[in-house]
Amino acid sequence: MVKLLTATRGKNGWDWTDWAAHIYLVLGVVVMFGPVLWLGMSSLKSETGIQTFPPTLLPYEPSTIAIPGRGDLKAFTITAGEFAGKEMGELRRLGLQAQMIDPATPDTVRRIPVGDRTPIMRVRAAWENFTGLFTQFPFARYLWNSVFITVIATILTLLVNSMSAFALSKYKFTGRDTAFLIMLATLMIPPTIVLVPNYLIASQLGLTNSAWGVIWPAVATPTGVFMLRQYMLTLPDELIEAARMDNASEWRIYWRIVLPLSSPALAVLAIFSVMWRWNEFLWPMVVLSRSESFTLPLALNSFQGELTTQWNYLLAMTVVTLLPVSLIFLVLQKHITQGIASAGVK
């Protein structure tokens, strides 16, 4: 163990620490990523496929067989008796007997004990789980609520935090350090301990059951201000002086010069803000009580309580919820990991 922690790679080929490290990593990938893959695979299973135990890896559903004059019937393989090995369609089931039809002799109905047959399964992705979200549930509404909150809140967060970071890094004014300290001090008051009063304030402002009630309270973030300020401190003051010479207003300097130059830091904050907002749970649960104002996480939470049997829809909805974040990660992986490593925020 200790050697594993400290040893470096041997000169000639692999020593045992390399093996241990790789085994650890491969196991790690299975544990970290396997569950997500399993979710993805399961979300493609039909309602019957999802109730199969033990579960199958691939999504199966009962196959059908075309019988002339009878249409498509559920297909079975006969396992015992006179017709063993034949594939037949089920006309109807009567207790322990089933009326089956051999496609070769479509006019003869045969009685087969139900124990003497197994259903034929075929692999098929049940995309109707996903389309069903839109046709059978107000899913589009939840999706829209989540997107609206995420986009608007991120724009406001960038605007408000960058304005204050600009003043804190580029101006000298009385009370500047106090203002900065006040903002850092808000780290000591995380949202979980002001739930009750924030609910009062939101309800007095008429923000309950509204997207704005979710958006406003977290628009100012101490980490955002801190991160942007650190970045803006590195921008040369000469640029601003030069713009002032040209009679640019301070607002113009802020949004035409400082903001574009800070885009790397703004991008990192934007990514974080999108993640925070898309995933936010406790505060939205407090402030949004009517289901038409629910965001995706809230909808998921209430569905898992109500529809425990409808796992196929629940899993599909889970996949849709994790998809945007996963795509962002796929594209911006480097920015995200570097941003976290440098700022130490999540």
């Binding site: 470096t8 997500v36 000591m188 008051i189 309800s203 977290a218 898992q304 976290i340």
Partner: protein, 323 residues
């Protein structure tokens, strides 16, 4: 895209004139306050004012939401939260759920933070080696961090349900299936496991960047001296990694003390009270119960706040040290 830029540009130009006017009016640096203003206003309204209201709520009773309708009760809320015949036995307390919450949270914090620091450090050290496809492995360990807590909980609920894939695996090797989330000890175990699974990647990244900041000369020099691995780890890696480790520890503690989302969706705090943590007590008392006891919830919030205050001061101290 051009349209978006144009619209955005239009809106961003709107403050130009009023700001220019203000600029002329405000002497010296007072314009700074105009820029800081919106941020401070939001903080004031949703962070500082709430703390004051929290304190007021905590000394009032009843179930009214509006502060002025609430009767003053002094320290009764705190008294009822803290009164127990035997403080080591939650069931002997007036507010037994609160104390179950405290003890569960303490237990959770100890296991979750402890194990998470160990595993993120191990992962960071492994990822710091020269390994083919390191970027891929790093991404795989980090990925769950981005998932919504509700998604995390549902992913694992699906695996852990009675007819889930884990039980199928157990039965395939001849073991009996287990009702993972209906057994108090297992439910607690999975709460710890799932929250480590979800957050470990974040702390691994911080430790990894800490490891990468160790000058390679130091490692090489130690190798030339043929320093035994154990001593290398204890005398070189560990001390140099200490600042990052402290960040990880404090941030991990701050988060673990406030654990709610994943566990609430995964277990609902049960079975019984086995995985009910302190934030769930606040949420339940203030919002989920039939009778909403805002005063009790606020008092419990303030008790939690006092713990978080100490932890955050440690964090700020660390931030200052790291510049």
């Amino acid at each position: 895209m051009n349209l978006i830029t144009a619209i955005f540009g239009f809106f961003m130009n709107l403050p130009e004139l009023p700001m220019r006017w203000l600029q002329g009016k405000l002497a010296g640096g007072r314009l700074g306050w105009v820029f800081v203003g919106p941020n401070l206003a939001v903080f004031g309204l949703f962070t500082f004012l709430p703390i004051v209201i929290d304190i007021y709520y905590s000394i009032t009773g009843g179930t009214e939401l509006l502060p002025l309708d609430r009767p003053l009760v002094g320290l009764e809320n705190f008294g009822s939260l803290l009164s127990c015949t035997n403080h080591l036995d939650p069931d002997s307390c007036t507010r037994d759920l609160f104390w179950h919450g405290i003890y569960n949270t303490l237990k959770f914090v100890a296991f979750q933070v402890g194990l998470m620091v160990v595993f993120s450090m191990l992962t960071a050290i492994v990822l710091n080696r020269k390994i083919a496809g390191r970027g891929f492995f790093r991404a795989a360990f980090f990925y769950p961090v981005l998932l919504s807590p509700v998604v995390v909980a549902l992913i694992w609920k699906w695996i852990l349900q009675r007819e889930g894939v884990l039980n199928a695996g157990f039965m395939a090797v001849g073991a009996n299936p287990v009702n993972w989330l209906l057994d108090a000890n297992w439910a607690f175990f999975w709460s710890v496991f799932v929250s480590i699974w979800a957050h470990m990647g974040f702390y691994t990244l911080i430790l990894l960047s800490g490891l990468q900041a160790i000058p390679s000369e130091i490692n090489e020099a130690s190798q030339m001296d043929a320093t035994p691995p154990l001593r290398h780890f204890r005398r070189i890696t560990l001390p140099l990694l200490m600042p990052s480790l402290l960040v990880v520890l404090v941030l991990g503690l701050i988060r673990a003390v406030q654990m709610f989302d994943e566990v609430y969706v995964l277990t609902g705090g049960g079975p019984g009270t086995a995985t009910t943590f302190i934030v769930q007590y606040i949420y339940k008392t203030g919002f989920a119960d039939q009778v909403r006891q805002y005063g009790l919830a606020a008092a419990a919030s303030l008790l939690l706040a006092s713990v978080l205050l100490v932890l955050t001061l440690l964090q700020l101290k660390g931030m200052r040290k790291n510049g």
